[in-house]
């Protein structure tokens, strides 16, 4: 993929990933046989980049394992939706279950990977994703259950908010969704691991400098040696 966004900031040209490329990078974390729950937004796009031949089963927390693609026009079924309330299809091997069992399998750690969006992540792995004080609150949905139980949580988000402020913080400012739970963050600028000592830079987006990432990361960022560029696709 060479289809990058070019953004002019601080009088220099940065190359950063678009949402699809973030999803594409996250897809590289998938392993054969994984059961995966994808949140709404960028995480949903990960489904488009599951490598050919890899067997990954998508869980939709409203009660489906084995979520298939959107239906063809005219084949929509009102009784068959995903957690984003979109019409979907099943696949060979799909199964249905109720909401209590759905969160049962989530709590019991049966889901191998959860990918979700966030407003803020702190260097100890806390996540804030559901509420902005002063703005109307729509609810946490299943996010609190997912982050409290998932073995492996990857956050997919932009590195900074619309005001250009870092979303990778020492401490989250917004009300929390869960604590000490995020393992990895993939942003438009970097891949970052959450460690006991803070954020650790694993990869940088093509053309983005370590300094750029550092300047846009408020939390402690550990940079060990040469940082490779992200491989996408």
């Amino acid at each position: 993929m060479t289809d990058f966004y070019f953004v002019i900031a601080n009088n220099k040209t940065l190359i950063m990933l678009d949402k699809n490329q973030i999803a594409q990078r996250i897809a590289r974390e998938l392993k054969d046989g994984f059961y995966v729950n994808l949140g709404i937004g960028i995480p949903t796009l990960v489904a488009n980049y599951i490598p050919q031949g890899m067997n990954v089963t998508l869980q939709s927390e409203n009660g489906l394992l084995g979520m298939g693609p959107f239906p063809f026009e005219g084949e929509e079924d009102a009784d068959l939706i995903n957690a984003g309330k979109q019409t979907i299809t099943t696949l060979p091997g799909s199964s249905f279950f109720d909401s209590a069992m759905s969160f049962g399998m989530i709590r019991a750690g049966k889901v191998d990977l959860t990918v979700l969006g966030a407003m803020e992540v702190s260097e100890n792995g806390d996540i804030a994703s559901w509420k902005i004080p002063g703005k109307l609150v729509k609810g946490m949905g299943g996010a609190m259950d997912l982050v409290a139980s998932a073995k492996n949580i990857i956050v997919a988000m932009m590195h900074t908010n619309s005001k250009g402020e870092s979303k990778l913080l020492k401490r989250c400012q917004l009300p929390l969704t869960g604590i000490n739970c995020v393992k990895k963050i993939v942003t438009n600028l970097a891949v970052i691991e959450v460690t006991e000592n803070g954020f650790r830079l694993l990869e940088k987006a093509p053309g983005v400098s370590v300094e750029e990432i550092k300047s846009k990361t408020e939390g402690n960022l550990i940079v060990d040696g040469e940082i490779p560029e992200m491989e996408i696709g």
Binding site: G63, F72, L80, F97, F103, M144, P175
Partner: protein, 232 residues
């Protein structure tokens, strides 16, 4: 005891003002459409509604909100509903937001005769405020109580005259745990058959949990997000 009723109006005849109701469904999928319409018609007020979502402006629980019949909403996600927002901002409506898995499992606990559950959802967040917690194997869990609902209103695909229920696809969602949790459970089904017509191996909710059942009519089954892919 007779479980079969002719329609929603008859099945909900004794739901009084200030009841606590559970309403099955996820978004607009698998909601008890006929019962909601009958509640609007009956005009019961000051309801506490336990449901994953609050419908949209002109469908689902949104219809009850529009008529100011809901005093309190207990949900995990209230979504896009302008009337809901207006009532909330005006202080006309009380809202308790709880994690979706906690919501489902508090229903399940009621149906299983378990007074409370322990869940990690919400630990360290404002959801934990004022709640008892306990550590098991080094991990903290919140104690959450089983729901106490006067009536559970659920929607199934097929049912028989003994109250056995089968749901369809993802329209199952909250319906089975809620069906188990109501002091009185009222099930509306798309197709009501005689006992013996459903394979006992295929029953999702055994009739013991269902007190009243009727065959619904005129299902709209509105789709909230119609998404399609292109024919290649």
């Amino acid at each position: 005891m007779k479980k079969v009723y002719n329609n929603a109006d008859e099945a909900i005849f004794d739901i009084p003002d200030a009841s606590t109701l559970m309403l099955g469904g996820f978004g607009l999928c698998g909601i008890p459409e006929n019962c909601i319409t009958a509640l609007v018609k009956k005009g019961v007020k000051s309801l506490t509604c336990i449901s994953n979502n609050a419908g949209v402006d002109d469908f689902g629980i949104g219809l009850l909100l529009k008529k100011n019949q809901v005093k309190k909403m207990i949900a995990s996600y209230v979504g896009e509903n302008a009337e809901f927002e207006r009532q909330l901002l005006n202080g006309e409506l009380e809202v308790e937001l709880i994690p979706q898995g906690t919501l489902a499992t508090r229903c399940l606990a009621a149906g299983y005769g378990i007074p409370a559950i322990y869940t990690p959802a919400g630990v360290g967040t404002e959801v934990a405020e004022g709640k008892e917690s306990r550590v098991f194997k080094g991990k903290e869990y919140l104690m959450e109580y089983a729901f106490d609902a006067d009536f559970a209103l659920v929607k199934a695909w097929k049912g028989d005259r003994d109250g056995n229920l089968i749901y369809k696809e993802t329209a199952r969602n909250f319906n089975p745990p809620m069906a188990m949790a109501g002091k009185i459970t009222i099930a509306e089904v798309e197709e009501l058959v005689d006992a013996g017509q459903l394979d006992p191996d295929h029953i999702h909710t055994p009739g013991i949990y269902v007190h009243r059942i009727f065959q619904g009519s005129d299902y709209e089954k509105r789709i909230e997000q119609r998404t399609v892919r292109k024919q290649i």
